[in-house]
């Protein structure tokens, strides 16, 4: 058969049009969720231990085809876009701790894990962490992956030079309160030229908020960021500024890297996972760090959850996989692989997590992390927390960085909060 050029063109055109339209049409008829044999798990790089994920694939291979996908970029928006589109929704989805408050009001999009027998396992997990995965209606949305207990990372050599306590136990004891910590900061500044105990005052405010049982908005959608518990944290950060305890260095810049290496910034209040960052960023400082308690008590930064979406065809199987992925043994593996601090206290006793860490001068860091993780206070985290905490955070930053008058900054923060509360329908 001879095809004329015109005929060929037409065939090509028709084909293109058919593909284009077919592509559009098929968009309306995709199956949601898995088809039974296939089990899709969404997480992000470093969100789960790759070793454990691989093991899970092999372990459940006979029952389902576990397809674990690492989603890059802005994870949360990709997940909610997919869920809203109601197509190709993963069966199991990782939920980041900082986004948890925004997922919980939409608990109906997820399977209530209580219906799958989650309560039986509750005692194996940290109670405060478990509570964070519970929605306002009582259903359990998120199953605990990891937590981020905050500790004080410090360089003992610099502390010693300043005449301060420098053994971890002594530091935990003698800098256990904020007042003691600030006094130590003044001494450090006097004795070691150019050294500051704080990089910025924002961390003081942030950790102090985390040490409390209330945040910015309560369960009744009422703004409480103007109350005493926030004001105390604010005043504490302002005091650090007034006493000149914070450097003018911006975190994450070359300045902060070199100041950290040279010992001018010998201390960091940060979560357990920051140990991994320290090791990556400052390999040369190996052995020059120790870990002690955070002044003012334990708090938490970060930590995530796994959830089963409503699109999942086999919730029981998915739950079995989740609970296996996150049992005490595998969480220990997660800590070794990816610095994911276990939410299962049983892991803290395991021998492989109680090894001497050469980066921290052979200290057994679990002795500090473990007790901190168990004592973290429970605070209600409202979906409006981010929006209404932001003005206060912004203004404390202005006080710290630009030297803005603290009283004026507080007033500005409060008037902005009230405006935002009005807009979001939060009472005050």
């Amino acid at each position: 058969m001879r095809l004329s050029r015109r005929g060929l063109l037409r065939a090509g055109l028709a084909g293109t049009a058919a593909t284009a339209l077919g592509g559009l049409a098929s968009g309306c008829a995709v199956p949601t969720g898995s088809t039974g044999r296939n089990m899709v798990l969404w997480y992000w790089s470093g969100g789960l231990s790759d070793t454990v994920v691989k093991k899970a694939k092999a372990r459940y291979d006979s029952a389902v085809d576990l397809d674990a996908i690492q989603i890059g970029g802005y994870y949360r928006s990709k997940l909610i876009t997919t869920m809203t589109g109601q197509a190709h929704v993963p069966d199991i989805a990782g939920l980041k701790g900082e986004d948890m408050a925004s997922y919980l009001p939409n608990a109906d999009q997820f399977v209530d894990l209580r219906t799958l027998g989650a309560e039986k396992l509750k005692s194996q997990y940290l109670d405060w962490k478990w509570q964070q995965g519970v929605a306002p209606d009582g259903s359990l949305v998120g199953f605990p992956i990891d937590v981020g207990p905050v500790v004080q990372y410090y360089q003992p050599a610099v502390y010693e030079k300043a005449g301060l306590a420098y053994e971890p136990d002594d530091v935990s004891k003698e800098m256990g309160t904020w007042d003691q910590f600030f006094a130590a900061g003044e001494q450090l500044k006097k004795r070691v030229r150019g050294a500051f105990i704080l990089t910025d005052i924002t961390s003081v405010f942030e950790m102090s908020i985390g040490q409390g049982t209330q945040r910015f908005v309560d369960e009744d959608k009422h703004f409480i960021g103007d109350q005493e518990h926030v004001r105390v944290c604010w005043d504490r950060a302002v005091e650090a500024k007034r006493r000149g305890l914070a450097s003018s260095i911006v975190t994450g810049t070359p300045d902060s890297i070199s100041a950290t290496e040279s010992g001018e910034l010998p201390s960091q209040l940060n979560a357990s996972w920051a140990a991994g960052d320290l090791k990556l960023q400052y390999p040369k400082t190996k052995g020059r760090w120790r870990v002690a308690n955070c002044p003012g008590g334990p708090s938490n930064v970060g930590g995530s959850f796994l959830a089963i979406t409503k699109a999942c065809r086999e919730p029981e199987k998915a739950f079995e996989i989740i609970t296996w992925l996150l049992n005490a043994d595998n969480q220990a593996q997660g800590f070794m692989d990816a610095g994911l601090f276990p939410s299962t206290p049983a892991s803290y006793e395991l021998k492989k997590l109680r090894e001497n860490d050469p980066f921290f001068g052979d200290q057994i860091t679990m002795d500090v992390y473990g007790p901190a993780a168990e004592k973290i206070p429970v605070a209600f985290n409202s979906p409006y927390d981010v929006a209404l905490g932001q003005p206060i955070r912004d203004e404390i930053k202005n006080v710290g960085v630009l030297g803005k008058n603290p009283e004026k900054a507080w007033k500005d923060a409060m008037s902005k909060c009230r405006r935002i509360a009005d807009h979001l329908g939060v009472s005050y």
Binding site: G7, R10, A20, T202, G252, P254, S258, P383, K416
Partner: protein
């Protein structure tokens, strides 16, 4: 979907004026319409419908997952009273001005220099164009180092001249200058290439005639080059306005903050929070999709107004 039958139809008579049978005319051109349809179909699916949806969204309250609530004009009412939005417009315009005017000036000089006889012209063109194709994120990270307080290149130069250090990324003006410098660096070469293309369309006879009449190089530039370059200048200005007013990655990466802060805050006092950064913060940090859509339409209006003003200014200057 069935494919069209591959029956040979007689080709449409081309000479037939479509006005005679308007209906038949359009139908007889179906192949041509089919040929250009893929773009329009894709644009409809991925351009027009989302745009329409964002307009619809801006009249609602939505957290991105749950159900939508009708909110009427309240998002727009809040937008008008939202001082943060207005200050982000101010930031954007200041950064845009700080970046665009030096950029156009430098690009023009570069283009004129390239247009005169130099060797390795293509090498230069390539080199000038290179900044434009580098990743903004990578550039912003480098510029973060360049502008850092104690170890930054800029401060090292300042000190070499005997001036004081400036905490660039910690002061409202420093932040704006740093972002503007980055944008200037990135776009100068690109615009220089466009100017160069414009310069090469100016006939050489004009220059020769000017030389005969005894015009100096400066006079030639202002009397011949600039007037004839007006359309190109206008094009560059409008494009720079549209891209400059939508700056997002530059401040976002340059002012990346610590883990417990939003990456969309724009630094101390929000000095680097541009309109699009603000839109992002409202939408994705606060999960306030309805308000985010309203902010996006606010940005759209600002860009349109600004482009029109630009257009008018350049047009008028030409008529004087």
């Amino acid at each position: 979907m069935a494919t069209a039958p591959l029956v040979e139809k007689p080709p449409a008579p081309v000479a037939e004026p479509p006005a005679a049978h308007p209906k038949k005319g359009i139908l007889s051109y179906w192949r041509l319409y089919a040929a250009i349809s893929p773009f329009y179909l894709l644009f409809l699916a991925f351009g027009l419908i989302p745009v329409g949806f964002s307009l619809y969204l801006s009249f609602h309250r939505w957290d991105g997952l749950g159900s939508m609530e009708y909110a009427g004009l309240s998002q727009y009412r809040y937008l008008l009273s939202d001082t943060d939005f207005w200050s982000s417009i101010g930031n954007t315009l200041i950064i845009w001005a700080l970046a665009t005017f030096p950029m156009i000036f430098l690009a023009m000089i570069t283009a004129v220099m390239l247009n005169s006889a130099v060797r390795f012209k293509n090498v230069y063109r390539f080199a000038y164009f290179l900044p434009n194709v580098t990743s903004v994120v990578a550039v912003a990270i480098i510029f973060g180092s360049v502008f850092s307080t104690n170890f930054g290149l800029v401060n090292a130069l300042l000190q070499a001249v005997g001036l004081d250090q400036i905490a660039w990324l910690n002061t409202p003006w420093g932040i704006k200058v740093a972002i503007a410098t980055l944008m200037t660096w990135q776009w100068t070469g690109y615009n220089a290439i466009i100017f160069l293309a414009g310069l090469q369309t100016i006939p050489g006879e004009l220059y020769e005639a000017a030389r005969m009449d005894g015009a100096g190089p400066v006079q030639t530039f202002f009397r011949i080059t600039l007037p004839l370059m007006r359309p190109v200048l206008l094009f560059v200005l409008v494009i720079s306005t549209v891209t400059g007013l939508q700056s997002f990655s530059e401040p976002q990466v340059l002012l990346q903050s610590t883990a417990n802060e939003s990456t969309f805050s724009g630094g101390p006092d929000h000095a680097g929070r541009t309109m699009v950064l603000y839109f992002f913060q409202q939408t994705f940090d606060n999960n306030d999709f309805g308000y985010g859509a309203a902010v996006a339409w606010g940005i759209f209006l600002v860009v349109v107004i600004f482009s029109i003003v630009n257009w008018r200014l350049v047009q008028r200057r030409g008529e004087d």
